[in-house]
Amino acid sequence: MAGNEAALAELYNRYADMLYAFISHLVYDPRIDTADIWHDAWLAAIRSLHTFDHKRCRFFTWLCSIARHKAMDSCRRAARRPAESLSSFSPDRLAALIDDGPLPEEAMASSAVRTSVIEALAALPAEYRRMLVARYADGATVQEAAQLAGKSYKAAESLLSRARAAFRLALKKATGETHDG
C-alpha cells in the first residue's frame, strides 16, 4: 500500500478526525500541542505502512498505537507525566451498563471510556458515524441530520437507529479489545 496516494487519501479522510480526538483524550493537557502529536503520528504511520498487518489488527488500532507512543514521547520531552483521567471508571463496565440503564456521570469523565468511544466510532461505516456525530455531537435535529445525509426523515430515523445499535456493538468490542490486549 506504500506510495499509493489514493489509498492514503481514503485512510486519511476516514481516520484523521478520529485520530485527533483520540490523541486529545490521551494528553488533554493544554500545554501539549495535540496537533503536533497527530501530525507526527501520521508521518510515522506513512513511513512504516509496510509493517502494518491487517490480519493482526484494524488500521485504526494500529494508528492509535503509534499515536500513543508519540504522545508518551511528547510528554517525556515536556517532562510531564501523561495526564491522569478525571475518573477511574473502567470501560469494561460499559458493556454491562449501556443497555440496562442510564450510564453514571463518572463514565463520561473517564479518558479510557472516551478513547474507547473514538475507537468504536472509527470502526463504524462512514454513513453511521456521520449520522451519530451530526445528531449527538453537533446537536443537529433528526430533520437536519436527514438533510445532511440527503435522506427523508423516516430513512434518517431508521439509519440513526441502526447506527446506534452498531455503535453499542462496536463499543463493547472496543472495550473488550482494550482490556484483553
Binding site: 506510495g3 486519511y12 480526538a21 486529545s24 508521518l43 463520561m108 449527538y136 455531537a137
Partner: protein, 115 residues
C-alpha cells in the same frame, strides 16, 4: 414510537458520543487540509525512494564492472599491478564521479520529502 429502554439506550449513546467528541477534540479543517498536502508529498517521496534511481544503478554497474575487470586481470591474467594504471585510473575516476550525481539525487529526494 420508542419505548423507555430504547430511549435510555439512545440517551447513553448520545452522552458517550458527546463525551468522545467535545469541541476541544475537534480537528481544525485548515490544519487537516495543510497536513494532507504534506503527507501526500511524503507519500510521493516514498514512492521515488522505493526503487533506486536509474542513474545510480548505471553508475554502480559500470563501477562494479570496471572493478571486476581490474581484479580479473590482476588475479587470473597475473598482470603485475604496475601495468594496470589505465584501468585503475578509470575505476577510481568513475568512483569519484559517481559521488556527485549520487549526492545530487539524494538531496533532490530528501527535499521532495520535506516540501
Amino acid at each position: 414510537m420508542m419505548d423507555n429502554n430504547e430511549r435510555t439506550r439512545e440517551e447513553n449513546v448520545a452522552r458517550l458520543v458527546r463525551a468522545g467528541l467535545p469541541a476541544e477534540a475537534r480537528l481544525d479543517p485548515r490544519v487537516k487540509q495543510d497536513t494532507w498536502h504534506r503527507l501526500s508529498a511524503v507519500c510521493r517521496a516514498n514512492r521515488s525512494d522505493a526503487f533506486p534511481n536509474f542513474a545510480l544503478i548505471l553508475l554502480a554497474g559500470v563501477t562494479g564492472f570496471m572493478s571486476l575487470w581490474a581484479v580479473f586481470e590482476l588475479m587470473v591474467l597475473k598482470k603485475p599491478l604496475a601495468v594496470l594504471p589505465t584501468e585503475l585510473v578509470v575505476v577510481s575516476a568513475l568512483n569519484l564521479a559517481a559521488i556527485l550525481p549520487a549526492f545530487v539525487i539524494w538531496v533532490k529526494n530528501k527535499r521532495r520529502q520535506y516540501v
